[in-house]
C-alpha cells in the first residue's frame, strides 16, 4: 500500500512541469494566441532558475528568476506576433529554437554545479502517517503550488469578470474590441502569464525535480504540454488529469523495466509519445467538440478595425 502511495507521489512529481506549462499555455490560448514556444520558455526558465539559485544559494529566488525569464522570452514573442503581426506558428517555432540555443549558451558555466534544491516536504509526524502521510504531506512545495495554480486559474477564468473578458477576447476579438476592451493588451498579459508559467515549469525541473542543469533538459516536455492543452479541450481540470497521466506513462517504462518486464527499453521509452499521438487523434477526431471548445480566434492575428 505504501508502495502505491509512493508511486502516486512520483507520478504527481513527474506531471508537475507539464501542469505548469500547460496551464499557462491554456490561458494564452484562451485569449486567442497560439504560442508554440513553450519548450524554449521552459528551458530559459530552467537555466535562469538554476543560475540564480546557484549564485544566491536560494532556490526560491531561482524559481522567481525562472518565472521572470520565461515571461521575458514570451515578451519577445508577444511583440513580434501581437504588435508586428507576424505569423504565430512560425514565431512560436522560432521562440522554441532560440530558447533552446540561448539556454544552452547561458547555462554553460553551470553544468555540473551542485545546488541545494527544493526538497519534498517532510513534516515530522504528518508525513509519516501510513498511506496518507506521503500523499498529502510529502510533496515538493512546488507541487502544492501547482495545485494552487490550477484552482486560481479555474476560478479566474470561470468565476471572475476579467477571466470572462479574456475568454471573450479569444472567442471574438472584434466584438470585444467593439465593446472597448483593449484586446492587444489583454493578449499581451495572457502571453506573459503563459511565459511565466512555462518558466516556472522549467524552474521546477532544474531546482526541484533534478537539481542539475543540462542543456535540453526539458526533453520535449514543452511540446507534450502543448498537446495536453488540445487533449484537455482547453479545460483546466483536464489539463491536470492529462499531465498526471503522461507523467505516469513516462514513469511506467522504468517501473516495468525494474519489475523485469521483457520488452525492449526503447519500446517502453516510446510509449509517452505514442500515447500523445493516439490521444490527440482520438480527441481531435470530434471536430465539433474541438470547434466548440477551441477559442475561435486561436492563432489568427488581430487587426483593430478590420
Amino acid at each position: 500500500m505504501d508502495h502505491i502511495a509512493e508511486l502516486l507521489v512520483l507520478t504527481l512529481a513527474a506531471g508537475t512541469p507539464l501542469v505548469f506549462a500547460a496551464l499557462g499555455e491554456l490561458v494564452t490560448e484562451k485569449s486567442g494566441v497560439l504560442n508554440l514556444g513553450v519548450e524554449g520558455m521552459m528551458l530559459v526558465g530552467a537555466v535562469a532558475a538554476f543560475a540564480v539559485a546557484a549564485t544566491t544559494r536560494n532556490p526560491w529566488l531561482g524559481v522567481a528568476a525562472g518565472m521572470l525569464a520565461g515571461a521575458a522570452l514570451s515578451l519577445v514573442f508577444a511583440v513580434i506576433t501581437l504588435s508586428l503581426m507576424a505569423n504565430q506558428v512560425a514565431s512560436g517555432l522560432a521562440l522554441s529554437l532560440f530558447g533552446v540555443g540561448l539556454s544552452a549558451f547561458v547555462g554553460l558555466p553551470y553544468v555540473s554545479i551542485v545546488i541545494d534544491g527544493l526538497k519534498p516536504l517532510s513534516i515530522s509526524g504528518l508525513s509519516d502517517l501510513p498511506l496518507v502521510g506521503k500523499l498529502l504531506f510529502g510533496h515538493n512545495p512546488l507541487v502544492y503550488l501547482s495545485f494552487l495554480l490550477f484552482v486560481a486559474i479555474q476560478w479566474f477564468l470561470y468565476r471572475t469578470r476579467p477571466g470572462l473578458v479574456v475568454r471573450a477576447v479569444g472567442e471574438s476579438p472584434q466584438s470585444a474590441h467593439a465593446i472597448g476592451y483593449p484586446v492587444v493588451r489583454i493578449r499581451y498579459l495572457a502571453v506573459l502569464f503563459g511565459g511565466a508559467c512555462s518558466g516556472l515549469g522549467g524552474a521546477y525541473l532544474a531546482v526541484a525535480y533534478t537539481p542539475l542543469w543540462v542543456e535540453g533538459m526539458t526533453a520535449g516536455r514543452g511540446w507534450i504540454a502543448l498537446a495536453l492543452v488540445v487533449f484537455a479541450t482547453w479545460k483546466p481540470w483536464r489539463v491536470l488529469a492529462g499531465a498526471y497521466l503522461f507523467g505516469g506513462v513516462t514513469l511506467a517504462q522504468f517501473q516495468a523495466q525494474a519489475l523485469g518486464v521483457e520488452m525492449p527499453s526503447q519500446v517502453l521509452s516510446m510509449l509517452p509519445y505514442l500515447a500523445t499521438i493516439v490521444v490527440l487523434a482520438l480527441i481531435s477526431r470530434d471536430a465539433i467538440t474541438i470547434r466548440l471548445n477551441a477559442p475561435a480566434s486561436l492563432g489568427k492575428p488581430f487587426h483593430p478595425g478590420s
Binding site: L10, A14, P264
Partner: protein, 373 residues
Amino acid sequence: MHHPQRRQALIAAAALAAAVVAASLPVSAQQAAPATASAPFKVGYVYVSPIGDAGWTFQHDTGRKEMEKALAGKVTTKYVESVPEGADAERVIRELAQSGNQIIFTTSFGYMNPTLKVAKAFPKTDFEHATGYKTDANVGVYNARFYEGRYLAGQVAGKMTKSNVAGYVAAFPIPEVVMGINAFARGMRSVNPKAEVKVVWVNSWYDPGRESEAANTLVSQGADVLTHHTDSTAAVQAAEAKKVYAIGYHSDMSKYGPHAHLTAVTHQWGAYYTKAVQDAMAGTWKPGTTWGGIKEGMIKMAPFNPVVPKETQDLVNKTAADIGAGKFHPFTGPVKDNEGKERLAAGKVISDADLSKMDYYVEGVQGKLPTSK
C-alpha cells in the same frame, strides 16, 4: 509579373558583396606559439561531452592536465569538447591533425571510423582511440578494466544493503556496461548471497531527468544502494534525496551526495597519457591494444564514506590488491547466467575475448538483457 533575371541578379550581388566584405576584413595575427629551443610537442584531445565537474570527460581532462604537468614545458595540449559522434567528428579530428598535433586522443567509441579515416590521411600522426577495437598502422586503442572496480563496488554494496536489493541506472546495453553490471552483481553476492540487482536502461548517456526518474523508480521498488553507468550525477543526487546509499562512477561524486555516497569507481588516465605522449615524443610509440585496470593504476576506488565499517574497507582493499597482483579475477568460474546456464566452468578465468562480447546477465541480476538473442 516575373523578373527572374532581376531577382537572381539581386541575390548574386548580395552574395558577392558579403563575400567581398568577409574577405577584406582585417585579421589580427593569431597567437604565436611560445618560441622554445625545440617547439613543444602538440597533443590533441577530442571529447564527446562537456568537461563539467565529474564524469567520463572530466576524468579524461584530469588525465590530460596530469600529463601536461608531468611533461611541463615540453608539450602543449588542445582539446575540443562536445564533439558529437557521427559525421562531424571526422572534420574535427582532421582539423586537429591538420593544425600540427602529433598525437591525438579520441575519447569515445563513436569516433572509431572517423579516427581511422583521418589516420589514413595523416600517416605521420599518432592516434589513440578510447574503448574501440580497430587498430591501424598509426592507430592504437586503449581502455580500462572498469569491471574490476565494479566488483569492489559490489562488495561495498553487498555489505551496506539492508534490503538486499541494489539499483543500477544504466545507459545502453553495450558490453562494457553489461560486464560492469555483472561484475557488480558478483561482487555483491560474494559477500551477500541473497543480494539482487535491478537494472533500468535510460537509453541515454546523459539525461539527468530520466536518470533521476529511473533512480527513484528503483528506490520505490526496494533498492537501497544505487549505482549507475551514465554520465551525470543524477543517480547519486537521487540517492541523497531519498536517503539511500549510492556508489558513484567515473569520478568521486561525494559532493553530490555527502551522506549517500559510499565510494566511487574512478577512472585514472593521467599515467597512461603521460607514457603515450612520452613514447610519441621519443619516436617509440607503437599502436597497441591497452586494457589496463587496477594494476596499471587506471582504476581506483574513491575514498570511503566513514559510515562504511572498517572490516568492509579492509576486505575491499585486500580484494583490490589481489586483483592488482593478478591473484584474483572477478570473473572466475563457476559463472552462471541468470537463467541457470553455465557460462564458465569452475576454476576457469574468463578470457578477454569472451569478456568483450558479454551479452548475458549473471545470476543475481533480474530481468533479461535487451540485446541477448
